[in-house]
Amino acid sequence: MKTVMPLGIASLILAGASAAHADPIEITDQAGREVVLEKPAERVASIPMPMASTLIAIDGGVEKQVGMNPVAKQAVLDGILGKIYPEARDIPSDITAPNFIPNVEELAATNPDLVIQWADRGNDLVDPITNAGLTTMLISYGTEEKARDYMTMSAVAMGRDDRIGPLIEWREEVASDIADKAAAIDDADKPKVLYLLRAQETLKASGAKNNYNTWYIELAGGKSASADLEANGVTINPEQIAAWNPDVILLNNFESDISPERIYEDPILSLTNAAQNHKVYRMPLGGYRWDPPNTESPLTWMWLAELLHPDVFDYDLRAEMKDAYAKIYDYDLTEDDIDGILWTDLNEGAANYEQFKAKS
C-alpha cells in the first residue's frame, strides 16, 4: 500500500504547499502519547467541543471534518461559521454523546484517519477508541500554551503546517503588543474584572490558577475579582460578588439567553461598581465563543483591552476582525456580521462600547 502512495501524497502536498516529505507524521499529544500518522489526516473526527471550530479554522474549510460533537455542531450551525460554511450541516454528529462518551461503532463507520479526544477526562473515554484501532490524539485545555500546542498539533496532523504558523505568530504579536502597552498601566488603575462562567440562575466564577479568563484579564490590564477562589467554575452567592465589588463584569456565551439586563435587574448585583458604571458586557460570539481559548482569541484580548483602557490601546477592532476572518476563513465579514458577533444590541449603552460601532 505504502509503495503506491507517494504520488498521491505528493500531489496533495503540492496542493497544500506543505513540507514535502513522505515520512510518517509523529506527534506527541497532550497526554504524552506518541501519535503516528502515515500521511496527513484527511478524515478527522473531533469529540471535544472547541475542536470543531478550531479544526475548521486551521484547515480553512469543513471538508476534512467527518464527525463532531452534536453540541459543537449546533454551535457551528447557529453561529457565523454556519453562514460561512453551510455544508457543515452535513457533518455527522452521532459519533459521540454530548458528554464526550464516544459511540465507537458510529465513529468507526465514519472511517476517520484521526480521532481527537480529551486528555484529562479519564481513560474510559479514550480506550474504546484506541481498542477499535483508530488513531487517537488527546488534547488538554485551559491555558494559552496548551491552546497553542493543540492547535499546532492538529495542524501538523492535517498537514496544514502552513496555516498554523501565521495564526500562532498573530497570537504572539498581539499578546506582546498588549503586554507592552499594559506595562505602563499603574496597578491602582487596573479594574477588578469578574468573568461569570454562569449567571442565568446559579452564579459561577473561577480562581486564578490554570484559568484562561484570568490570564487575558491580566494581559489586558485588569485584575481578576475572583482570584481568591481555589477552583475553576465553582458556585458563588451574590453576597460574595457584593463583597468583591467588581469594576467590570463579563458574561459568558455558554448560556445562550444571557444578557447584561440579568445583572442590572438583580437587587444585589445592580449595586456593584460594574453595574453602576454600566460596565457589564456579554462576551462576543464569533466562530467560537470568545471566552475560552480559540483561534480568534487575539480579538478577544483586543476587545477587552479596549474596554478596560480605551485611552491606552487604539485597536480598530472592526478592521482587525475583518482582517482575521479573511485570513482564517477566507470570508469577508459584513458590518451586520460584526455587530452580531460583538452583541452590539445586548451591549448597547454600556460604557466604552460606542467605540466598537460601525463608522458611518
Binding site: 458528554n99 454562569r198 446559579t202 458563588i236 452567592n237 453576597e239 457584593a242 455558554f254
Partner: protein
Amino acid sequence: MSDVTAGARLHGGSGALRAGVFVGLFAALFAALIFAIGAGRFAVSPGRIAEIIFAWMAAPSAPLENIDERIVLLVRMPRVLIAAVSGAALAVGGAALQGVFRNPLVSQQVLGISQGAAFGGALAILLGYAGVTLLGLAFIFGLAALVIVGLLARINGRTEIVTVILSGMVVGALFSALVSVVQFVADPNTSLPAIVYWLMGSFSTATWARFWLGLPGLAIGIVAVWLFRYRLNLLALEDTEARSLGVNPDRERWFIFIATALMTATSVAIAGIIGWIGLVIPHAARILVGEDHRVLIPASAILGATYLTFVDTLARTLTSAEIPLGVLTALIGAPVFGLLLRRHFSKANQP
C-alpha cells in the same frame, strides 16, 4: 421493641421536663436564625443588621437603597427562611414515614420519593423549565415513586415492612437510572452542570419569590402531618389493633404518604436533594422527647429547622465558593446514621 418499653417511652418524661426541652429547642432555633442572618461573605456588623431589620419591620415596603440592606433582607433573609422551613419539612416527613412504617430506618430517600422528585426536576431543567413547572414535575414523579413502592410492596393485601424497603430501593434505583439518562442527554455546557449542581442540593439561588413558591407545599405538608399526630400513634400499632380503635390504616397511611411526597418534592424542587435530614433528625428528636408523635412531630420540625439553617450557613460562609449542601449533610448524616443503625440492632437483639 416490646410493648412494655414502647409504652414506657411513649409516656416517658414528665410534662415539666418536656416543656423544658421545647424551650431549649426554640432557643436553639432562635440562635441558629440569628447566627445565619449575621454570618456571610459580605461584612455587615451585628448592630447594623439589627438596625436594618427593625427599619424593615417598621416600614416593610420602603425601598432598599444600600447594598447591606439588600444583602440582609433580599439574600440572607429568604435563604435562611427557606432553609429553616425545608429542614422542618424534611424532618417531619421522615418522622411521619418512620411512624407509619413502624421502622426507624426509613426516610424519603430509602422509599425512592427523593429520587422520583429528582427525576421530575432534572427532566424539567432539561426541558428548560423552572419555577412552578419544575415543582409540579418533581411532585408528580415523587408521588409516582411512592405509589409504585406501595403497589410493589402490597402482596396478598398485606404490606410487610421489609418488602416496602426493598421496593423503595428498587424504585429509587429505577429513578436514579432515569436521572442518569437525563444527564446523559443533557448539554454538558448548559443544562448538565445545572442538573448536577441542583441534584447536590443548594439554597444558593434563594430569593423571596422562591420562598413563596416553596412555602405552600412545605407548610401544608407540615400542618397536615401535625394534624395527624394522634393518628400516627395509632398507625404505629399493628393494623388489627388500629382497626379495632376505629382507624382505617390504609387510607390514613396514604394521607401521610401524599403529605410527605408534597413536602419532599417541594424541597427537592427549590433546593435539590438534601439527604439525611429525614433520617437523622427524627432520631435525635426521639432521644430528646420520646416516641409519642404528638411531641415528636413538633420537636422534629424545630430541630430540623435549626439543623438545616446551621448547616446551610456553613455551606455559604466557610469558603468564597458555595459548598454543596448535600455534601455537608451527608458527611455529617452518614456516620450518625451508622451509629443509629448499630444502636437499633443491638437493642432489637436484646432478649
